[in-house]
Symmetry: D3
Subunit: 325 residues, 6 copies
Amino acid sequence: MFHHVKELQFNARVSKPDPRFARLLLEQFGGPNGELKAAMQYFVQAFGCRKPHPDKYDMLMDIATEEFSHLEIVGATIQMLLTGVNGELKNAADESDLNKMLDGTTAKESYIHDALIDPHFFLVSGGTPTLTDSDGNPWSSTYIMGMGDITVDMRCNIAAEATAKLVYENLMKFTDDVYVKETLRFLMTREVAHLQMFQAALDSVQPNFPPGILQSDPKFSNKYFNMSDGNNFSGPWNEGKSPEMKEEWQVIENPIEHIKETDGLLNEKAKGTDRTDKTVQEVNKALSAERKNEVDKATSPSADGIMSWSDSNSGEKEKKEKKLQ
Amino acid sequence: MFHHVKELQFNARVSKPDPRFARLLLEQFGGPNGELKAAMQYFVQAFGCRKPHPDKYDMLMDIATEEFSHLEIVGATIQMLLTGVNGELKNAADESDLNKMLDGTTAKESYIHDALIDPHFFLVSGGTPTLTDSDGNPWSSTYIMGMGDITVDMRCNIAAEATAKLVYENLMKFTDDVYVKETLRFLMTREVAHLQMFQAALDSVQPNFPPGILQSDPKFSNKYFNMSDGNNFSGPWNEGKSPEMKEEWQVIENPIEHIKETDGLLNEKAKGTDRTDKTVQEVNKALSAERKNEVDKATSPSADGIMSWSDSNSGEKEKKEKKLQ
Amino acid sequence: MFHHVKELQFNARVSKPDPRFARLLLEQFGGPNGELKAAMQYFVQAFGCRKPHPDKYDMLMDIATEEFSHLEIVGATIQMLLTGVNGELKNAADESDLNKMLDGTTAKESYIHDALIDPHFFLVSGGTPTLTDSDGNPWSSTYIMGMGDITVDMRCNIAAEATAKLVYENLMKFTDDVYVKETLRFLMTREVAHLQMFQAALDSVQPNFPPGILQSDPKFSNKYFNMSDGNNFSGPWNEGKSPEMKEEWQVIENPIEHIKETDGLLNEKAKGTDRTDKTVQEVNKALSAERKNEVDKATSPSADGIMSWSDSNSGEKEKKEKKLQ
Amino acid sequence: MFHHVKELQFNARVSKPDPRFARLLLEQFGGPNGELKAAMQYFVQAFGCRKPHPDKYDMLMDIATEEFSHLEIVGATIQMLLTGVNGELKNAADESDLNKMLDGTTAKESYIHDALIDPHFFLVSGGTPTLTDSDGNPWSSTYIMGMGDITVDMRCNIAAEATAKLVYENLMKFTDDVYVKETLRFLMTREVAHLQMFQAALDSVQPNFPPGILQSDPKFSNKYFNMSDGNNFSGPWNEGKSPEMKEEWQVIENPIEHIKETDGLLNEKAKGTDRTDKTVQEVNKALSAERKNEVDKATSPSADGIMSWSDSNSGEKEKKEKKLQ
Amino acid sequence: MFHHVKELQFNARVSKPDPRFARLLLEQFGGPNGELKAAMQYFVQAFGCRKPHPDKYDMLMDIATEEFSHLEIVGATIQMLLTGVNGELKNAADESDLNKMLDGTTAKESYIHDALIDPHFFLVSGGTPTLTDSDGNPWSSTYIMGMGDITVDMRCNIAAEATAKLVYENLMKFTDDVYVKETLRFLMTREVAHLQMFQAALDSVQPNFPPGILQSDPKFSNKYFNMSDGNNFSGPWNEGKSPEMKEEWQVIENPIEHIKETDGLLNEKAKGTDRTDKTVQEVNKALSAERKNEVDKATSPSADGIMSWSDSNSGEKEKKEKKLQ
Amino acid sequence: MFHHVKELQFNARVSKPDPRFARLLLEQFGGPNGELKAAMQYFVQAFGCRKPHPDKYDMLMDIATEEFSHLEIVGATIQMLLTGVNGELKNAADESDLNKMLDGTTAKESYIHDALIDPHFFLVSGGTPTLTDSDGNPWSSTYIMGMGDITVDMRCNIAAEATAKLVYENLMKFTDDVYVKETLRFLMTREVAHLQMFQAALDSVQPNFPPGILQSDPKFSNKYFNMSDGNNFSGPWNEGKSPEMKEEWQVIENPIEHIKETDGLLNEKAKGTDRTDKTVQEVNKALSAERKNEVDKATSPSADGIMSWSDSNSGEKEKKEKKLQ
């Protein structure tokens, strides 16, 4: 269950109205890398962890709830930046007051221009934040990533935090308001903190590479296809050893020829690796059994076959077990 | 700031896995009338009320937070209905166990069929709820309604609660699980409760008709155009008096002819009403002034010109003032 | 079947081109609260009423057809506001005339700026209205609400009319063209008229609360959960009696504690209401039977089992029956 | 202005309910090639033609209005195919009647399965058509094509009619209902009729190639780049003369080499054509002047500078002028 | 398999940065008529042709690959137009350099304004093209047309090339950069070339009218319904003979009356045509057999029942057969 | 420029038609984690790297081009799985052959059922792949991640490869076709290879944490807010040192109280870290200068001020410089 207190997690402040920056700031309210995306991504991922990984569930819900709280901070800041818009719209019958608002200097032309920059604020939301990005695109759950697998989901979350961090960094270029910058800096920093939490969680699962369970095919896991001809550079991504599996990179310099020679890779051979199909199958089986068992045991219903979500005691017990690992 | 406790607001239970009903239940998780829509609609509307209408802000945040908590209940129920899916997917290397799962009777064909019915559960989410409706459409913030005006927003919320209520009513036809029905009934009932809260809030604002501020033009507010020829019925919507403004309905039996006669209504006359352009303008001005004043006064920055969101004392003060009105 | 006459329902006029206001006006052409949304919402709802509620079908088709006619008025106004854009684009080979257009004063810089404000008009539509909102988002049928139930659909329609009314009210702030304002005022007034028609139709169905058929659970229908802590206001939404069901509001001051005490509300008791589970079930059964019967009787096929849509005589007969009720 | 009569343009009939075919038929109700797409495409295009091309406006509005009428036919057919769904949903309290409906043989399992196939019908629309395609995707105005230029728009409309025709052809494979087939055949035939109308309209504009105004660059208009190596076929698209401009096709057998030799085509030469840059510029200027003049003359405001849409006499006059050309 | 060379097909150049035109040019990068749409439309259509129509497959893949190469040209041009944006964003800590960039004259206000015009460039993409149209809408595969039938798909492709051509024509109005215009002219010309290729391919299939297989119903194929009353024009679309089928157009002057008289067209008679239901059925059968046979023969698996895509010899053989036809 | 050869990169094979698995496999053709998403994500990111990071540009274009080639493999497999669908649709006039197709045993009922499972294949695409996910949602460029910064983009790409890998892993559960599995295994393995390439590229940029340039605020970078009450677990994400910055995690056990005490964190103090505001500002400045300089130098136009994309010699030169670093 969620609960709400009226205070913001960070006491956001604003020096004066600025509908233009409000528009830009929408990127983190309803944009693809914004706070709602983060909150919903972790919230949705958490369901799958509830039983098999209560510690990860706890972490995901902690961070999801914090992201909801950040969404509130961003919305509150936008609302304050839009001060004056709603009151002016309420002045539906009389336009004579129009010149007095927005820092005292804004004429009607400027008011209309602001409306053209973000018509939603002036025509639809009445000066309230809208769940869109900074270009007016509605928020969509297609922004959410997650596969129901910790070794994948944590990598998705690291990416989410990295993008969100950079949006805040970019936003700071477009405001001179020291109070707004103060808030942006807090929010930016929290993305850095969360990124590290997800990294730590990923590291705590072993093995975590490759993501998921099935091992890669040794014939193809260390081949680099030179598909883009011209200036061909080398670097650690195609020379030396691969970073995770430590196989020797093999560059296919001329892929078209190679494909024809190998009957479309059907006759490809493994090279620069010790892994074989046999060792791969063994790992696949062992890891399948272990991970399936973990999930099945944790999610099996109680004796009467009935499942319930709020299960008061099991948490503590699992906590102890977890910490032993 | 939001806070979360691990217990659900309603202790949702499930008798046995049922991926098919899980698919249908998505309608209220990520569908256009579902819990996330409700939560976000009220949450977003709340920002605009924070200063000028702290009592409505309080109500909107109470209900928004409850809807988030309902979203969690729906997600938890779907997760329990999907028990077995994730474990089976973890069994990536070995398919021999496939026949034993899901109530002990389901063969591979049935498993594949379930995957075809909702491929997202089996291919993407790993048996975790997805933020889509029951037909797989991603949640979109276009579902959210709100205009930054209480007399409009409360009507939008009444509509939202009415649709959500009916979706729960319909959902009950498709499950026999008494525990699931118990949860659905709780959720359905809360929509009825919320609907009444929004109705009460709407009634507490006077005048609340027409929504917004500007009065309607007396020439056109009580005309009924018979645009669809054939069997023409009459009812309280085109005979007698209009329900809110108590003007006498005037039926234009033959709109095409009427348009030609009145030069496209430019020469239309008011009939069946006492209102005139003059009385309309007077109301417009008075109400504009009142509503604008209310907003401007409440949202004006403090003496130093700085605005902050968390304002510890003002709430109590406003509360008293509000209750006097 | 639809028919079209070349005259507009309201003879829209424009003083001079204004591509910027044309952009804003798109909100009511292809926006979520605009004329197409209204037209399609009522049109789609009408199908379900055709047989069981021919009087509501008649009303919905009358209003839907009027909304299509309003869509045409809005489009015509936008087209006139864009005068000059298409001709200039046709001047594909020669740019020397560019400075002469648009009120005689517009230089190329201004022309380019207009294109940046609404690139669709200049790059894609050739100066013709586009089916987007004022921020360029494509119209989507997710804007449409309706559940195939009159007690829900009329509430959705009231919300739709309320939002559309306010968009017109807001739009008037952004144009000084008296002819355009005249048209906007007509359109705004019709929303007020339609709102009352839907209210009258809703009132004519009894009982219409709760929407749909199933009664709410007496244990939960009058509880108010104080989910947002801080300044807690009271008002008719949480003190006194609920407006529709007249049950006494019960405030749960500390929901977290309450949830824990009642085992997630499984042990909740009804309070402040006379309704019981038994009376609820009785109403549920009686109303189910009545409403199902009404639909089944009206939609049952003729003796030969064949259904056809255009059924010349039945309408008149039903009309008489309806009026008796 | 639109008008509606209760009779359908084609008296659609249905032998018995079939929710599954109803699902498929949605493709033409709210799908990308369906009736709403066609109606809105021609309706929107019509605005731009109103003044400069009143004859094309007349044709576009005739066909747009017919497509709205077809939308109604499709919706009516879906509604009849869904007979029983709404009545059953109204039976909210009692499930005992469930086995008796839908052709007398359908058990609850089948009812649930139908709901899984199209959950929108059963959970949301209450057995009324929904504005989606056959896979549940909401209708979007991105389906609409049109550029405000007759030589382009007519080609878009030909494509639209061709796709719609084929969808009806495909749909006929999935129903045995002779009445439904009769309706589908009528609708399919009308697409063929409309396609020819648009072809005739395109032919009536000269020159109509290339679409728009600017002539193509003689250096590039007849080059064929062999970008996909392997089995290289020849046909009238890369040997002989191009169909519209009658230039000799020039095949670039090895594009990579050719690009390098010509410094990225900067040094490309015209071949197999008589056109030169000079003749191109002459045509560009002449056609620009002609088309711009046509639009500007037709759309110039009346003496008082005011524009109005409904202009009673001009149509007849323009008609005579048009027919002389 | 695709391959890439670093050189562009056309060596695009830019005189100086222009973020505003970059925004407009996005229309052809990620817009509904842009290069990605064209590339993906032809690429997807190609799959269905691979076996039955290897010559059309070859043409579609040639053009699809060229369109990908054009997408790269457009992206490269946008990237050059955005020069300076990324570097400035990297200057995250220091704002003092801001006034020096972008042609030496742009002050911070202008920088912010550019960000408001296209916030994605400045907040999200870091000065890299985004896959949206010029108004920020994300690219969607709903832009793609195609029905798996050559007689339809070629018509869709003609429409696609026509719209793309006109967008380039329009874009040229909004830049003075001679190098950018040079590139736009190349791209525009290629659309004209492709249009003719698709026309030639359509002409090479006989019969290609009506699109698909089934013949139209003689009762309805030459009727023109006068659905839009007022100024009724005539032209080759409703007088004389239809352009493809050469049937005499029959105008229904008063559709409402006509519908009532013919019982919703159920009693309609064929007029102005020699075709009968019998001749229609004969053509339907013969063409069905021929087209089905063509597809089935080409796609039947080899002797061992296994299908593979890369089939080295068959191409050449088919090429010879094809050319004989 | 792109080039295409008719052979697939991997010679995909299929044992027999299977429209149901074809539906599931769409997830990787047009789904959010599929091959088009990957191809377009790397392709779009590449533009920003072209000048400042030619080695990363080379890698991104290599992998993007390989992903396009994988898209082709997936599409080819789907096409083969759909063998029979197109031919049967061509049989538009005669339904008698229907029972003979699809492995010889499928009756019409099954054919219709397949159409209900994926109506797009049967009604719209004519048995050709569609650019949707496995649930019919159209591909959207909102799937693409990227910020124009290598330290962010590589993390996004790692996430993309991880999700794609798992989708292939999951897909293998739903087919028994050994040839299809062989192809899926190849594709899955390539995701693992690419993931490592992106990891290597990320590691080659130093510093790469935090992503972007600005350092985090020491007051907030190591705080863990316990926002979700109940069972509180600890792990490396909230005890010990943070993985990247090696600061000591500080748990805020009771965030609500803490917020109130610190005036909404305005009075928060740094703890468990050596970093100070001063050191942070120094790093910010130094890194800003370095990264800005790198970009500006690389993207500055040549002496004549003109920029061109294809720049034949510089690549080789840069390559040498790069390798020295």
